[in-house]
């Protein structure tokens, strides 16, 4: 698949959140305000990019040649945890207000299925190095897009009369379902 189609497919046609259910936890937790949604999306995209690079290198230069592919999950998650730690320290130094705004959700990027999912999918589909990078960018862009759209909708929902039992997580899920339905319309564009 051409690189452009790969990016487009990962970001829109097969959106990580709305088609593969990856990255739902922050999707529900961070998407209340537009500004924090954008920051979270960018932070995740950044981590995804570096993860794509590092995990590809580890898999093809270490795990496969030394026949220790069984260490895949342990090594990948350790890499992701360390990367998130580094990104956390970096953001704290560069922009304290941003660090405070993201709060607990920054270290929680470690347990974001989207990051590990990205690494696993790339290996599963046997992507080349460049393809993995583009795939990571597309996945991050798609995640940010879904998060931002969700935040926009939820900000408006604050003013709507939602039935008692649907308030909170229930209505969020239903909105997500409608979004997923809408995104299915993109199929066939690749």
């Amino acid at each position: 698949m051409s690189l452009f189609l790969l990016f487009f497919s990962a970001a829109i046609v097969n959106n990580f959140v709305l088609s593969y259910f990856l990255g739902i936890c922050p999707f529900v937790g961070v998407s209340k305000k537009l500004t924090s949604a954008v920051s979270m999306g960018l932070a995740v995209t950044f981590v995804m990019l570096i993860t794509a690079v590092v995990t590809w290198l580890i898999y093809h230069l270490i795990l496969v040649p030394f026949d220790v592919v069984i260490l895949q999950y342990v090594s990948f998650i350790l890499v992701i945890a360390s990367l998130v730690q580094l990104v956390e320290m970096f953001i704290r130094k560069v922009s304290k207000p941003l660090y405070d705004a993201l709060g607990i959700f920054l270290p929680l990027i470690t347990t974001n299925c989207a990051i590990l999912g990205l690494a696993l999918f790339s290996i599963l589909r046997d992507y080349s190095f460049i393809e993995s990078v583009v795939f990571g960018l597309g996945a991050g862009a798609g995640f940010t897009l879904a998060l931002v759209i969700m935040a926009g909708i939820r900000e408006s929902l604050e003013l709507a009369p939602i039935p008692k039992y649907f308030q909170g997580a229930a209505i969020t899920m239903i909105v997500a379902g409608s979004l997923a339905l809408a995104f299915m319309g993109f199929a066939g564009m690749i």
Binding site: M1, L5, N14, I70, L71, R125
Partner: protein, 202 residues
């Protein structure tokens, strides 16, 4: 244990955990790896058996379009068919199709869609069509005997009249056309690999 400084304790415990983890996984790896490999080979053999006429053995050769499986009977080395995986974009995602060709590569002996994420009930008819009670596998089965040149074409709303034409699925044109497109593209590479002596990696 508590008399050691904190940094030493941290390193010691983490090292211990990692070594234990490595040990457990190494042991589990050697126990399970043969079984996993066995299943993989069985699945491959089954897929090849479905797209080629009866054979007893096959030889794997590399090529620019992936592995080629050259099948023959037990007593002779005469080629009775060539199988290969054709991969490409479908409507929703990637399609992986096992294809079988006659030894002269002029006709298809069978296809089997191994992986797809097409629209359930429409695009998935390239695998099986439950709405057609008499002939649910009509789409893949129709490829048997179809000519590979000129390029295969999908016919909509009418019956195919030429030997390189196949019937499309109503409501799933893109999925149907994706199959023929992927087949056409990959067969080009297969023909190159099989005719040029140097095209096959042994």
């Amino acid at each position: 244990m508590s008399k050691l400084p904190l940094s030493a304790r941290m390193i010691l415990v983490l090292t211990l955990i990692t070594v234990l983890s490595g040990g457990i996984l190494a042991a589990w790896d050697s126990y399970t790896k043969p079984k996993v490999e066995f299943h993989r080979l069985e699945a491959l053999k089954a897929a090849i058996a479905e797209v080629l006429p009866a054979h007893d053995k096959y030889e794997t050769r590399g090529s620019s379009v992936g592995n080629l499986y050259l099948a023959s009977r037990a007593d002779s080395d005469d080629l009775i068919g060539v199988a290969f995986m054709a991969v490409g974009s479908g409507f929703q995602g990637e399609l992986r199709i096992m294809v079988g060709l006659t030894p002269d590569l002029s006709k298809i002996t069978g296809i089997k869609v191994l992986e797809q994420i097409e629209t359930p009930g429409l695009g998935t008819k390239i695998v099986v069509d439950p709405s057609n009670k008499q002939d649910p596998y009509w789409f893949p089965v129709q490829f048997k005997g179809v000519h590979t040149s000129p390029d295969m074409v999908v016919i909509k709303n009418a019956k195919p009249t030429h030997k390189h034409e196949v019937q499309g699925i109503t409501g799933a044109t893109i999925s149907s056309q994706a199959v023929t497109r992927i087949l056409n593209e990959t067969i080009v590479g297969v023909k190159t690999a099989m005719t040029k002596h140097g095209g096959l990696e042994s």
